[in-house]
Symmetry: C2
Amino acid sequence: MNITIVGATGAVGIELIKLLGLRKFPLSSLTLLASERSAGRRLDTPVGKVEIKAFDSKYFENQDIVFFATSGEHALEYAPKAVEAGAVVIDNSSAFRLDPNVPLVVPEVNPQAVKQHKGIIANPNCSTIQMVVALYPLHQYSKIKRIIVSTYQAVSGAGQDAIQELNQQLHDHIHDKEIKVKAFTKQIAFNVIPHIDVFQDNGYTKEEMKMVNETWKIFDDSSIKITANCVRVPVIRAHSEAINIETENKITESKARELLSKVDSIKVVDERVNAGYPTPIDASEKMDTYVGRIREDISCDNGLSLWVVADQLWKGAALNAIQIAELLNTEHFRKNH
Amino acid sequence: MNITIVGATGAVGIELIKLLGLRKFPLSSLTLLASERSAGRRLDTPVGKVEIKAFDSKYFENQDIVFFATSGEHALEYAPKAVEAGAVVIDNSSAFRLDPNVPLVVPEVNPQAVKQHKGIIANPNCSTIQMVVALYPLHQYSKIKRIIVSTYQAVSGAGQDAIQELNQQLHDHIHDKEIKVKAFTKQIAFNVIPHIDVFQDNGYTKEEMKMVNETWKIFDDSSIKITANCVRVPVIRAHSEAINIETENKITESKARELLSKVDSIKVVDERVNAGYPTPIDASEKMDTYVGRIREDISCDNGLSLWVVADQLWKGAALNAIQIAELLNTEHFRKNH
């Protein structure tokens, strides 16, 4: 397949290149587009060194799939042009996620939605993806009535500048220099920030409402009650989530463990001993979604509590996007372009 | 008053000395006890330089209050000896907290409980204290039926070694050295660890069950349904908590803000703009409990979501202990020794 990555030098773009190789994706050609600033640089890719080109929609010609790993604004303007040129767009931004004409796909949950696409397929928000992967096997066994989730989100979710800012602040702290704040609203080193994306009228942040609205769309069930508290923590990579759910019927701990263990892409790490649970460092650069701390919630009937960790640049972004491309590549879902 | 601090060189002991000065506590004498290793060192205190003595229960004679800032094991053995010697013990460990003969006191919530003491008064767990301070004004207005809390706990809650370990790991990371793990079960730099204190049979950790059992005792109401997810984060100081509650009757956002703002020791920081919420760095070495992100919980009727931050070494430990001592010092509560 002829593949283009728009935003090839960003936090997600870099992982897309790496994962196309690791997944042995059938590449005929790989085109890397980025800002003028990066043009001319050559990157190692699964098809050898590839020179980055300054973004121009002329490169959309003869492409099978165009991955957008740019801002929502940019995707809104240019994704339709890639579709006009005959490509299928897999967009990592939030621009099209709630558009009723655009499927929002997590391959472990709603692969069939891919078939409905009209040129654009949206990749969900990172914190949503790992949550629905972990909850779907439980939801299939007994309908989930309510979800309460608090997140511990890595700085790389905010891009390369954010990673740089955490490292710089730690460096300045150690060398007793003044700490500067730019990528985040407050110091992130030695701190946590209960604010990701912009505030909405109801007092939730947009990130929190993404977890509500996107879960409804992916599960195709807006009767589920959902609330989220999204918090940035000084972790480089991999998001963690403390999740409490209530289900229609009882799911015992052992049943939950059994249901989750059956899923290929879920790794249950749940020994009740020191280190017997997943942490962000364990999940970094891993394709699986890790689940631990599974226990019956003592504060309600039919409640479960669990701890979910995944690499938000991989399963939360680049890997999920490539899995969508893999779905498109199977005979069953293939469209003729 | 003649005051003794047992464990004067520990993370909490140091803050007790500092806060006795900041609170202008009426000191006749201050005795500092620690391990043999620290004996002979001289510390600055509100009554001048004081030499640390190797722990011996002979120093309990003629003391009005003995603060224990040591392990539960040590307190279990020696607190009764201090009581025999005529002192009142304020114990920071978990040893006596659930003992029906020992009051468990947060002065903003249940000051009257102090009067029941038989020599020992227990200081609650850090994560419990800041939660009950923030929830009590709401609970008084309309009974809380359920609490779901996820914590973001600073390393200093695990003692001096833990602070040292985070700093060492960051140093080793920057200098590309191997990272060693000892105080925690996994690397804490650039990581979060969903495990504080030992695992219980029901899959919760002891820290999580403290938040349940101690809240019941302090509120004198074990009908409240409570669940907790306790997580260590790479923050030096001040714990944060994402809390969702359900109340018997509706509490609107503005009513919640009004109720919380009325309490002297609560600082509401709740603007829905960049930086308009408290973080651990804002609350470090502050006496107040900070509350932000107050919003109606969209996932249930009569639900509220809030974000609570406090310096767990101060309000969560040393300050609360000194406030208990201040209660003892008032005419109303004073006992004759």
